[in-house]
C-alpha cells in the first residue's frame, strides 16, 4: 500500500476541550477516503491541522512517507495539500481568476503571472470538467460554481491530497452527483481525496475507505465495501440507532394555516418571496425543501412575524393577516403558533441565560413565571425541572447556562418550551442542525407525536432525508418561488432535486 498521508497520535486541545485525541489515520494514494462523524466529533479540527490552519499539540504528520512539520497553510500547500473549506474562502468582489491567483500571483505585478494563471485555470477546468468563467465576479456565481472555483484553487499547485469539508451541504442532489464524478476523475488521476461528511449515504456511494470519529477520537477504520450504514451509524453514536423513522399515514383534518399569494420584499427592494400559496391541515406535516438560501429563512421569519409580509395574506387559525397588519412574533404566538427557529443560538435561546430562564422565553408573562409582577423563581425552577425530565434534557440542571449544553440538548430546551405550549400550528426550522444522531431520533419522534395529536406542522430543513422521512406533503422553494407541492409518497431524490433546481413539477415528473 502506497500511503499518501499518515497521521500518528495527533492530539489537539482548545482550552479544556480535547478536540482530537491520539488520532491515527492513513490515506492511500489515489483513493477516496471518507471521514464520518457527528457534528462536533472533531473532523474539521483534524482537517485544519493537516492543512496547517491549526497546530497539533502533539503527534506526527507524514506526507508521502516523510515526516513533515506543517506550521501554516503555506507549508501544507507546499507539501501538496489542497483544501475546500466548508465555508468558501472566496473574495466575492474579485473575479474567479483573481481568486485563483491569490497566493500564487507569480510576480510582484499581477500582469506578470496573469497569463500563466489563466492557462492553468483553463487547463484544470477542462481536465476535470470544472466549468466556470474565469472573468466572472464570484458574487455572481451560484454555490455549485463557487465550489468549482474552490476546487480549482485547491488543485492549482498540483495537490496530491485534496480535502473537502462537508462539500455537499449547500448543493442540490444533481450538483452533488456532478461533484462526485469530478472526485472520481481526480482519484483515477492519482489524487487522494479526503471527504469529510456526516451523511452516511455519501460515504457508501463514493468512498473506498472510511474512518469514523466520535468525540474527538478515531473509533474505527473500514473498507467501504465491507461495512454497512448500520455499522457506521453505530460507530458514530456508540450505540444502536434506528435509521428509518416509523411514520404512520397522516389523518389530515381542517385547514389550520394557509398563505395566499404571500410575498416579501426586503429593505433593499429585492423580492425574496414571490407569490407563495400553501395550506397546512391539522394532523399533517408540510415539509419545505430547497437548497439553502432560496427563501426558506424569509418564509419562516415572515410566518413567525419576525418580518412583515409585503403582499398577499396569511390565515392563522382563522385570523387573517395582511401586509397592512403590524404583526410581531408576540401577536403570532398569541394566535397559537409555536416556533422553533432555524438558528437557535440567535433566535431560540439567550445563550448566557440559565436553562430555566430560557424555558420561559416568550412566556415570561404567563403563569409559568408566576402570577405577580415579580418572577416566581420556585415556579420557574419547577417548570424547567418538569420539562427537562419529560424531554430528556441532559444534564438536567435548570441553573446551567444555555451555552453549556450540547447542540442536541439546546434544541431539546427549545422544543420543550414550544411543544408544551400546545400550539395549534408549529413552525419548525432545521430541527436537527448540529444535533447528534441520538437526539435526532428523539426529536423526530416528538414531531410525529405532536402531528398525531392534531398539530399542523410546517417543517423547513436543508436535510432532504429529513424532509422526506417526516413530511406528508413537500413544498419546494427555488429563488423565493413555490416550485410545487407534491405528496411525499411521490417524492424521490431525483424529482425533488430537479424541483430544487427550479424545474416545475409537471416538467420534473
Amino acid at each position: 500500500m502506497n500511503t499518501a498521508l499518515e497521521l500518528k497520535n495527533v492530539s489537539k486541545s482548545f482550552g479544556l476541550v480535547k478536540a482530537n485525541k491520539n488520532i491515527n489515520l492513513a490515506v492511500e494514494a489515489g483513493s477516496i477516503h471518507g471521514i464520518i462523524g457527528e457534528n462536533g466529533a472533531g473532523k474539521s479540527t483534524l482537517m485544519n491541522i493537516i492543512y496547517g490552519m491549526h497546530r497539533a499539540d502533539s503527534g506526527e504528520i507524514h506526507f508521502g512517507g516523510q515526516k513533515v512539520d506543517v506550521r501554516s497553510s503555506a507549508d501544507a500547500i507546499e507539501h501538496g495539500i489542497g483544501m475546500v473549506h466548508q465555508h468558501f474562502m472566496l473574495v466575492p468582489t474579485f473575479t474567479v481568476l483573481e481568486n485563483v491567483m491569490l497566493g500564487t500571483e507569480g510576480g510582484l505585478m499581477l500582469r506578470d503571472g496573469r497569463g500563466a494563471a489563466l492557462e492553468r485555470l483553463l487547463h484544470l477546468s477542462e481536465t476535470y470538467n470544472l466549468q466556470v468563467n474565469p472573468h466572472a465576479l464570484v458574487s455572481d456565481l451560484n454555490v455549485g460554481q463557487r465550489q468549482r472555483v474552490e476546487i480549482i484553487k485547491a488543485l492549482k499547485g498540483g495537490a496530491k491530497v485534496l480535502i473537502l469539508d462537508e462539500p455537499t451541504g449547500v448543493l442540490t442532489p444533481q450538483e452533488a452527483d456532478q461533484l462526485f464524478e469530478i472526485l472520481k476523475v481526480l482519484r483515477d488521476d492519482g489524487v487522494s481525496v479526503l471527504l469529510i461528511t456526516h451523511k452516511l449515504s455519501e460515504i457508501m456511494d463514493i468512498t473506498d475507505t472510511v474512518s469514523i470519529m466520535r468525540q474527538g477520537e478515531m473509533v474505527g477504520h473500514r473498507k467501504t465495501s465491507e461495512t454497512s450504514p448500520q455499522e457506521l451509524a453505530e460507530l458514530m453514536v456508540g450505540r444502536e440507532v434506528l435509521l428509518e423513522v416509523d411514520r404512520k399515514p397522516a389523518t389530515p383534518a381542517e385547514v389550520r394555516f394557509s398563505a395566499t399569494n404571500l410575498g416579501y420584499t426586503n429593505a433593499q427592494g429585492v423580492l425574496e418571496l414571490d407569490d407563495i400559496n400553501f395550506e397546512v391541515r391539522a394532523g399533517e406535516i408540510l415539509g419545505v425543501a430547497g437548497v439553502s438560501g432560496n427563501g426558506q429563512t424569509q418564509l419562516m421569519e415572515t410566518l413567525a412575524g419576525m418580518r412583515h409580509l409585503t403582499s398577499g395574506s396569511l390565515n392563522i387559525l382563522g385570523t387573517e393577516v395582511t401586509a397592512a397588519d403590524q404583526t410581531d412574533p408576540r401577536i403570532i404566538r398569541d394566535l397559537g403558533v409555536g416556533h422553533i427557529p432555524e438558528d437557535r443560538h440567535t433566535h431560540g435561546l439567550v445563550l448566557n441565560f440559565e436553562a430555566r430562564e430560557n424555558m420561559i422565553l416568550g412566556f415570561h408573562d404567563t403563569e409559568l413565571a408566576g402570577s405577580g409582577t415579580l418572577f416566581d423563581y420556585k415556579a420557574i425552577q419547577q417548570n424547567c425541572e418538569d420539562k427537562m425530565a419529560h424531554y430528556d434534557v441532559r444534564p438536567a440542571n435548570p441553573r446551567l447556562n444555555a451555552k453549556n449544553f450540547s447542540g442536541g440538548n439546546q434544541q431539546k430546551i427549545v422544543i420543550a418550551r414550544e411543544f408544551s405550549a400546545n400550539p395549534g400550528v408549529l413552525l419548525v426550522g432545521q430541527p436537527t442542525r448540529g444535533v447528534d444522531v441520538g437526539a435526532i431520533e428523539f426529536i423526530h419522534k416528538q414531531l410525529l407525536e405532536l402531528r398525531d395529536a392534531g398539530c399542523a406542522i410546517l417543517l423547513v430543513s436543508v436535510e432532504l432525508d429529513e424532509i422526506m422521512s417526516l413530511s406528508d406533503r413537500i413544498m419546494v422553494l427555488c429563488g423565493g418561488q413555490n416550485v410545487g407541492i407534491i405528496d411525499s409518497a411521490d417524492a424521490d431524490r431525483q424529482t425533488l432535486g430537479l424541483m430544487m433546481a427550479g424545474q416545475r413539477q409537471e416538467a420534473a415528473a
Binding site: 501554516s72 500547500i77 472566496l90 473574495v91 474579485f94 491569490l102 497566493g103 499581477l110
Partner: protein, 322 residues
C-alpha cells in the same frame, strides 16, 4: 471677466494647497481600511508627523531630516495601533481614539519641554522649509494668454510635498489594482480567511498596510509644519485627519474618488476664505459659518446614506481570529 477667472484660478490654487494633507491622509486611510483596519487614528498620526517634522527641522536645520523623522513618527503611531488591534485584536475605534488623544497630549508636553514656547516650535528660517518650486519656462509661458497664468499659478510654484501628494494618488491606485501586494490587501479586507488559507499571513499583511499609511500621514504632517507653515502649533491638524477619513468614505474606498472628495473639501474651504464678505448675485452675502460647516454637513449627509450607499470592505473593523 478676466478678473473673475483669475480669482477662480487663485481658488483652485488654494484648493490644491489645502487638499494636499487631505490627499496624503486619505491614501493612508485607503491602505489601512482596505486591509480591514478602521483608521480613525489618521488625525493623531498627522499631528505627530507635524510635530516631529518641525521639531527635528528646528534642531537640525534640515527639512529632509524633518520629513524622514515625521514618516518614522507616523509609522510608530501606526505600529501602536497595529499592536493593539492586529496582534491583540482590540477594538479598532477605541485604539484609534486613544492614539489621537495620545498625539494631542504628547505633542504639547514634548513641545513645552523641548522648546519652552507654550507648545509651539521655533519658526524655521525659509531655507529650512520645503519652499515653492518654480517650474521651467514659467516666464516664457507668461506670454501665452490664459494657459500661461494657469501654468504659473496652478501647476508651477508649489512646494515639493504637493507634488508628492498628487503622485501618491495614482501610485496608490496602481499598487492597489495592479500589484500582488494590492490584490492581497484588497482580499484581506474582504475575506481574511481566504488570505490565510492561501498561505499568506493576515497579520503581516495588515501591519504592512498600516506602515505604508503611517508613512503617508507623516508626509502630510511634515507638509503642515515645515512646508505650508514654518513651525508647529498646538492641534495644528485641526480635524484634517477626520476630514480625510470622510473623503475615503465619500470615495467609496477608491483612490481616485477619494482624491476628488479631497479636492471638493479643499475647494469648499478655499471658497470660504474668498467668499467672505462678498456679495454674490441672486444669493447675496454668503454666511461664512455656513461655508465652514459644509464639509461636516456633507459628511453627516453621506453617513446618513443620502448620497449613495457606501460599500465598505466586508471585514473592516473585525479582528481576525483563526
Amino acid at each position: 471677466m478676466a478678473d473673475f477667472l483669475y480669482q477662480l484660478l487663485l481658488s483652485f490654487d488654494a484648493t490644491l494647497r489645502i487638499a494636499t494633507p487631505l490627499m496624503l491622509c486619505a491614501m493612508a486611510g485607503i491602505f489601512s481600511e482596505r486591509s480591514g483596519i478602521v483608521d480613525i487614528s489618521l488625525e493623531g498620526k498627522l499631528l505627530s508627523g507635524a510635530f516631529v517634522a518641525a521639531a527635528v527641522a528646528a534642531v537640525t536645520g534640515s527639512a529632509w531630516l524633518g520629513l524622514g523623522c515625521a514618516m518614522l513618527a507616523g509609522i510608530f503611531m501606526s505600529l501602536i495601533h497595529g499592536f493593539a488591534c492586529i496582534t491583540h485584536k482590540g477594538d479598532q475605534v477605541v485604539s484609534g481614539v486613544a492614539i489621537n488623544i495620545l498625539a494631542s497630549g504628547l505633542t504639547i508636553v514634548l513641545g513645552i519641554a523641548l522648546f519652552k514656547r507654550g507648545g509651539q516650535t521655533p519658526s524655521l528660517p525659509r531655507d529650512d522649509r520645503f519652499t515653492p518650486i518654480e517650474w521651467w519656462g514659467v516666464d516664457m509661458m507668461d506670454s501665452v494668454p490664459v494657459i500661461g497664468t494657469i501654468y504659473r499659478q496652478l501647476i508651477s510654484g508649489h512646494n515639493m510635498l504637493v507634488y508628492v501628494a498628487l503622485l501618491a494618488v495614482p501610485l496608490t491606485a496602481f499598487i492597489l489594482y495592479r500589484s500582488r501586494f494590492g490584490l492581497r490587501l484588497r482580499a484581506v479586507g474582504e475575506v481574511p480567511e481566504a488570505v490565510d488559507s492561501a498561505g499568506i499571513s493576515v497579520t503581516w499583511l495588515r501591519y504592512r498596510a498600516l506602515i505604508v499609511g503611517g508613512a503617508l500621514c507623516g508626509i502630510a504632517g511634515a507638509y503642515l509644519s515645515i512646508a505650508q507653515g514654518g513651525n508647529f502649533v498646538r492641534e495644528m491638524s485641526a480635524g484634517k485627519g477626520y476630514i480625510a477619513l470622510a473623503a475615503v468614505i465619500f470615495g467609496n474606498w477608491k483612490p481616485l474618488s477619494a482624491f476628488m472628495a479631497c479636492l471638493m473639501f479643499g475647494f469648499l474651504e478655499a471658497a470660504t476664505t474668498r467668499l467672505e464678505g462678498v456679495d454674490l448675485p441672486l444669493i447675496g452675502e454668503v454666511p461664512t459659518q455656513l461655508m465652514l460647516a459644509m464639509p461636516y454637513v456633507l459628511t453627516v449627509l453621506l453617513l446618513a446614506g443620502f448620497i449613495g450607499k457606501p460599500r465598505p470592505p466586508a471585514a473592516i473593523g473585525k479582528p481576525y481570529h483563526k
